[in-house]
């Protein structure tokens, strides 16, 4: 019997059409747009000026505050403009636009493919290097990695949990990374185990990736304390709390963080970036992005420089046809529809998904028939239909009592609703209102 989380969740058709496609290097685009706010927390402070020459890996903007991250140049060239540009969030945010000239890297970066297994850095140095490299969680939320590694006083890390679940349909970037960079990932795990001083690591992988499970299990034998946990397929298992329930069998209490259970969770993409940052001195300037969709002629996985326009990826994948209805950044469940194809790839972009017109449009909204489906699939034990009604009526006190802030915004409720009600749209609204009230109260 495979492990999974017990409460709620949905079973989705996985549509992993790019699972067999090796990671391809995408050519460097003629211009890149690098937003200074690619992470959760404060936007980084810009260090360069218009007209400056930059090299690959050069620091463009430095972290402003504890929860923030450094931003590095992913190309070499001249800074053309520093102005607000629309990114995948749908809003205009300050960005550094660079005209590419050649491909000149900083000398400190080791560009060779040789595997370095020897750990020379001390735990403090590892965390320092991760911070300097501007590393953020590559699973989607883009939470700065050094914050997760700075264990608050009075708490102790006991184990590391690696997220190789990739529960979103279509996306395969983590899957490919686990197959092609398995040894690097295990070195990355060893580095983090050293940094956190823990002796146990669990790699959670869903059973629809048997090749990855097998490969990592075999390699993990050389690394004491590291074990692969095969998991049953269920959405949203890639969410931190659900993953911990599935792998460790322990529940994160409402309002608590994984560290309260002594666990630190990292995505496999982030682990690979940890390896590159510590062993190769390479800041986070590129990532693997899945470009997929049933209407694309060549859906594939690409290694892309941060700041590359989405249109370049789509063209490499065969171009968008007439049948396309929506282009999403991310997977079909949590992804956001893009307003244009010039938005840049950022640290948190895991995939670009082209949905055909017939599959992407919302059905007309009907009345709630009180079937309770949304309640039974909610993995956080909430009542989505009630939260939506309360948000519509602006009853914020009641919303707080009904624990709207626990919602992880996985979208299972909207997915399962037979009346196609926009449950998550309203819940997200209510959640942000309640969060603002709570924040104002603390001040």
């Amino acid at each position: 019997m495979l492990k999974t989380f017990p409460k709620g969740g949905v079973h989705l058709t996985d549509n992993k059409i790019t699972a067999g496609k090796p990671i391809d290097n995408l050519p460097v685009p003629p211009t890149v747009t690098i937003p200074v706010s690619q992470h959760a927390g404060a936007p980084a402070e810009v260090l360069v000026q218009v007209g400056d020459k930059v090299k690959v890996g050069q620091l463009l903007a430095q972290s402003a505050g504890f929860i923030s991250g450094n931003i590095h140049s992913s190309v070499s060239g001249t800074v053309k403009k520093i102005e607000p540009a629309t990114d995948s969030s749908g809003f205009k945010k300050p960005a550094i636009i660079i005209d590419v000239e050649g491909d000149e890297w900083l000398e400190t970066i080791d560009r060779s493919e040789t595997l370095i297994t020897e750990i020379k850095a001390s735990p403090e140095e590892i965390i320092q290097k991760i911070k300097a490299a501007g590393l953020v969680g590559l699973g989607g939320a883009a939470f700065p990695a050094h914050v997760k590694l700075s264990i608050p006083e009075g708490k102790k890390a006991e184990c590391l949990v690696i997220n190789g679940v990739e529960c979103e349909p279509y996306l395969t970037c983590d899957h490919r990374l686990m197959l092609e960079k398995s040894e690097e990932i295990l070195v990355g795990i060893a580095l983090l185990m050293e940094a956190l001083n823990v002796d146990k690591t669990f790699i959670g992988i869903e059973k629809n990736k048997p090749d990855a499970i097998e490969k990592l299990s075999v390699l993990a034998k050389d690394y004491p304390g590291v074990s692969v946990v095969p998991l049953k397929e269920k959405y949203p298992q890639g969410s931190e709390k659900q993953l911990l329930r599935a792998t460790l069998g322990r529940e994160v209490p409402a309002g608590a963080l994984p560290i309260d259970l002594g666990a630190v969770v990292f995505n496999v993409g982030s682990i690979f970036a940890v390896y590159e940052a510590v062993q190769k001195n390479k800041p986070l300037i590129e990532r693997v992005v899945t470009v997929t969709g049933k209407t694309l002629s060549n859906p594939s996985n690409f290694k892309v420089r941060i700041g590359t326009p989405v249109i370049n990826l789509l063209e490499a994948a065969g171009g968008v046809t007439e049948e396309a209805g929506k282009i999403l950044s991310g997977g079909p469940m949590m992804g956001r529809a893009l307003t244009n194809t010039n938005v840049p790839i950022v640290k948190g972009s895991s995939g670009i998904l082209v949905l055909p017109d017939t599959e992407s449009k919302r059905r007309p909204v009907e009345s709630c028939i009180r079937c309770g489906k949304c309640v039974s699939i909610c993995c956080m034990g909430l009542e989505p239909f009630l939260l939506m009604a309360l948000t519509e009526r602006n009853l914020t006190e009641r919303l707080e009592k009904e624990k709207v802030t626990n919602c992880i915004e996985c979208g299972s409720c909207s997915y399962t609703c037979p009346s196609s009600r926009p449950l998550l749209d309203y819940i997200r609204q209510g959640k942000s209102t309640v969060n603002n009230i709570i924040r104002a109260r603390k001040k």
Binding site: G90, F91, N340, R362, V365, D425, Y426, Q429, S432
Partner: protein, 288 residues
Amino acid sequence: MYSIIAYSFISMAGIGGLLAIVLYIVSQKFKVIEDPMIDEVVAILPQANCGGCGFAGCRALSEACVSRDDISQLYCPVGGNSVMAEIAELLGKTIPEKDPMVAVIRCNGHHSNRPRTNQYDGAASCKIKNTLYTGDTGCAHGCLGEGDCVKVCNFGAISINPETSLPVVDDNACAACGACVKACPRNVIELRKKSAKDRKIYVSCVNREKGTVARKSCTVACIGCGKCAKNCPHEAISIENNLAYIDSEKCKLCRKCVGECPTGAILEINFPVRKATPVTSENEVLAS
């Protein structure tokens, strides 16, 4: 036989009497002394409970009217001056006359002026749309057209014009309660002074971007050029954040600014058609 009836009668009367005493004590203990005038004032008020006065409802306003000595700050926008005068007379207090107000939609970006750049497929709520992205046009400031203002209006004064997908205010039905102003996530709606024959002159734009950016997304956007402010003989126009604003208190409705505006962002409503400068006649038709 009769004793059963007698016993039950006596016991019921006993319980009844006991409860009556309890009720009497409770009512004395928790007695709230209320001014009977409050009820009389409530009877005068329109009972819309819209909150336009700034109080929780009509009763809260009447309590304030009765308890305060100086009621010049209190005003029921729905009842207007006649209701306030009646209240003042009843209470023997004085109240100054206030200018009636009306809600004005400060956006004229319909399809031909403000082309759609994408299609919105989310929940039909401006509040949600505003948190998701900059909107389905190039303009990140103007009306979103999902009708949050229509939903909150208690008086049926706002409707969405299906041709322009912009809201339209019925001046006669509008009570100036301000519910739509609060509901609009982009502050497009403003309460302005009502003038004779419902005449209005206002800048129908809230775009605070620089002129070139604003103009690119909408042909009738205010570009903040300042021509109107320079030509206003009453100093009623100010420019802030690349956006002109006409103070309805100072504006004398002379219409000098309307012809000066290079983009036609200033609208004149309910004026007779001018012979010399028919610049804004097209906008007037579309907006009214």
